[in-house]
């Protein structure tokens, strides 16, 4: 038994292929409040219902919006077993956009499209760039970002496999 799966090494990713990650995650009020506070994000639109009630035209019809950094972290989490279980590090993220707001009770899914593969400065791992998207069940994309990950090479870590 190995700690990580054998289907998510550098060699396993095919440029142009989209991986539809199975699991979804309903983002709860608790998720939003706990993580917003834990990382010391003090923007009240994430956690003060009274403030958004008083100015619903500015604040999403009087709803607290889930902090985007949490949405991104959950989206990466949903994609992680298929894309970065064998990663050595997250390296870069670029062209990130929160394209639609997420509210308490929304469910998000994730998919990753392999954009690019290249050698890294170490022999045992290569760089894979994914376009990561988080979306709701109706297809509305809530976050998209290009994510470059340093991933172990099967040729180095699974010798003789």
């Amino acid at each position: 038994m190995s700690i990580t799966g054998d289907g998510s090494y550098f060699e396993d990713f095919n440029i142009g292929e989209t991986l539809e990650h199975q699991r979804g995650r309903t983002i709860t009020e608790a998720d939003n409040h706990i993580f917003t506070s834990m990382v010391m994000n003090t923007a009240e639109l994430h956690f003060n219902q009274n403030m958004v009630d008083k100015d619903p035209k500015t604040y999403y019809n009087g709803r607290r919006v889930v902090y985007g950094g949490v949405v991104l972290a959950f989206t990466v989490g949903l994609a992680s077993e298929d894309t970065s279980e064998n990663a050595i590090a997250e390296v870069e993220m670029d062209n990130g956009r929160h394209t639609n707001p997420v509210f308490h009770g929304d469910t998000i899914y994730a998919r990753s499209t392999v954009l690019e593969k290249r050698d890294s400065d170490r022999a045992d791992a290569g760089l894979v760039k994914f376009k990561l998207e988080g979306f709701k069940p109706d297809g509305t994309v809530v976050v998209e970002i290009d994510r470059t990950v340093l991933i172990k090479r099967k040729s180095h870590y699974l010798k003789g496999a």
């Binding site: 700690i3 834990m38 010391m40 604040y59 919006v65 950094g69 279980e85 993220m93 670029d94 990130g96």
Partner: protein, 157 residues
């Protein structure tokens, strides 16, 4: 004694291009923070939660989840940059520059890169370049982010 209201956060008009904000507080990332964040966001990379495995890859122990590093560096910047924001629009050129371990203390600073009006009169877009450091002053993260921010005393249509 009369009472006084202490307001926090900045409006669109408050930002000057070229100004550098050195954000206060700083934050030591604990093992508990990292385990909790990684588990609840269901991140499957064992470098974040299996010490023996992380060490087998050459790390000195469990690594702090990159998304937690990003969120803490970001979170520390909010009071100065985006407490009055209507929306945090995205991320550009984000680079993870150094491994962060539990026990490391992160600080954050941000440069005002640009600002422009938006299509609605009550708000504008400001772009910031934020850099996160560890306790040795080494850069651990940098990125730019555009933010949609309220203007002072302009009512929403």
């Amino acid at each position: 004694m009369p009472s006084r209201k202490i307001e926090r956060g900045h409006y669109f008009e408050d930002f000057e291009v070229g100004h550098l904000y050195k954000h206060h507080w700083g934050r030591t990332i604990t093992e508990g923070d990292n385990s909790f964040f990684t588990s609840v966001t269901m991140n499957a990379n064992p470098i974040y939660f299996n010490r023996e495995y992380a060490q087998s890859l050459g790390y000195k122990g469990v690594v702090v989840n990159h998304l937690l590093v990003m969120n803490v560096v970001f979170g520390l910047s909010v009071e100065d940059l985006s407490e009055r924001a209507i929306a945090h629009l995205g991320y550009e050129g984000m680079k993870y520059l150094a491994t962060v371990y539990p026990g490391d203390t992160l600080t954050s600073e941000s440069l005002v890169v640009s600002k422009r009006d938006s299509s609605r009169p009550d708000r504008g877009i400001v772009k910031f370049r934020t850099t996160g450091y560890n306790q040795r002053g080494e850069k651990v993260l940098e990125y730019e982010r555009p933010v949609l921010i309220r203007k002072r005393n302009v009512k929403s249509e």
